[in-house]
Amino acid sequence: MRLFANTAALVAKELQTEFRSRELLTTTLVFVLIVIVLFSFTFDPSVSESRRFGPGLLWLAFLFSASLMLQPCFLKERSNDTLSALRLSVGDPFAIFLAKFVSNTCLLLLTQVLLLPIFAVLYNVKVFPVFPKLLLVFLLGSIGVSVTGTALSAVSSQARMRELLLPLLLLPLLVPILISSTEATAALLAEQPALRRDWLGILTAFDVVFLTALWLFGEYLLEE
């Protein structure tokens, strides 16, 4: 119970810090927008092509932005050594990871929901009839990106060249997420929309496997 109380307090702290400045959210939103616009120059997006390539481009843009967005997650705790303070204030160090994971998932999901209408307009796809189902795909995808991204942000924050290192470590790890989310999104945006349970299954498996691994091994990463 204490774990959840600690986590809730830390999530509130993380979200409050972000919403005070909104630096991360604004930058990420604009970054994804730039990537989506730039992608459209690489091919002439007709309706059928948008349906075919759109979901992949969207998810690729999300993954790139996540690898940048999750960068400061543990780095910001290093500058004033607030990580030690956090470690002292919670009983189970997993609470720190859990809180960062939950707040990162919220921020990623928010970015995706805000960008979806813009993507729909630019690429001429209908998203509103399938919005609740899309939200489910986005949620499962964001959980996977956020759990691995948060863990690897703790890894890369301890190394040199950390800005370059996080995408290098994270992106190949996210191949299952990229494939499953893209295929699930594409199936929802097709002429006959369908919720593909097989892809949702792979997304859920990814989320469960890495959340368990983080729970088992995460605390060792926070040792001094």
Binding site: T148, A151, L152, V155, S156, Q158, A159, R160, M161, R162, L165, L168, L169, P172, L173, V175, P176, I179, S180, E183, D198, W199, I202, A205, F206, V209, F210, A213, F217, Y220, L221, E223
Partner: protein, 223 residues
């Protein structure tokens, strides 16, 4: 030292015999002809690289739990050897694919998964070069090693599922293998596994000597 010499000699003999068997004992495949013989190097290398990554995973978990440097040495040695075998798979794959399918790279499920795996473990080695402190490096890379290995079945599963949704070339499966071909295949698998064990052992010794050198240097500085 003498033991390693004998083992190295045995591995060399075994490798030589495997090469002879794959060129002269195994029959020539009817449709693909001579080029199919690359299969005896290609497929077992893939399996051996997975075995090496499994050993690296065991080393990583054991290091996290016990903090004994020898587990870190094992993890890094087997990851490096795994990458070497992975590279063999990635080089022999296109050489086989070009005459068989007409293209160098067909985004075939197994080859693509191997490429992703190769990228993951190269990232593992790059991560190790970015951390100075030996204990910290061992711990942090062990953590990433665990994540990389856990990702393997998911990568294979998702890419396999993804490829079966799209048209793909017919793959030569080992299920309908002719008996002599099967024997040569198992022989090749055995000799490459022995080679892997030898390489991991040598690399482990190197890591151990480096550690000894480091502690001697520190002792020298302290005096």
């Amino acid at each position: 030292m003498a033991k390693t010499g004998v083992y190295t000699f045995l591995v060399c003999v075994l490798m030589g015999f495997t090469a002879y068997a794959s060129f002269y004992i195994a029959p020539t495949e009817v449709t693909m002809g001579l080029v199919q013989r690359i299969f005896y190097l290609h497929a077992p290398s893939g399996m051996v690289s997975l075995l090496a990554f499994l050993i690296s995973f065991i080393g990583s978990v054991a290091y996290i739990l016990t903090r004994k440097p020898k587990w870190d040495w094992l993890a890094v040695s087997s990851a490096e050897v795994g990458i070497a075998f992975c590279t063999v798979v990635l080089l022999t794959g296109p050489i086989w694919a070009k005459p068989a399918w007409g293209v160098w790279w067909a985004w075939d499920a197994r080859l693509t998964s191997t490429l992703v795996l190769w990228l993951l473990y190269v990232a593992f080695l790059i991560l190790r070069t970015m951390i100075e402190d030996a204990d910290r490096r061992a711990l942090v890379s062990a953590f990433f090693g665990v994540f990389a290995f856990l990702d393997t079945p998911l990568v294979y599963g998702s890419i396999w599922w993804w490829r079966t949704q799209h048209p793909q070339p017919v793959v030569f499966t080992s299920a309908g293998l002719e008996p002599t071909m099967r024997k040569v295949f198992y022989l090749s698998w055995l000799s490459l596994t022995c080679l892997m064990a030898l390489l991991i052992r040598q690399r482990y010794e190197l890591e151990s000597s480096r550690d000894q050198l480091r502690s001697l240097e520190q002792e020298l500085e302290a005096n």
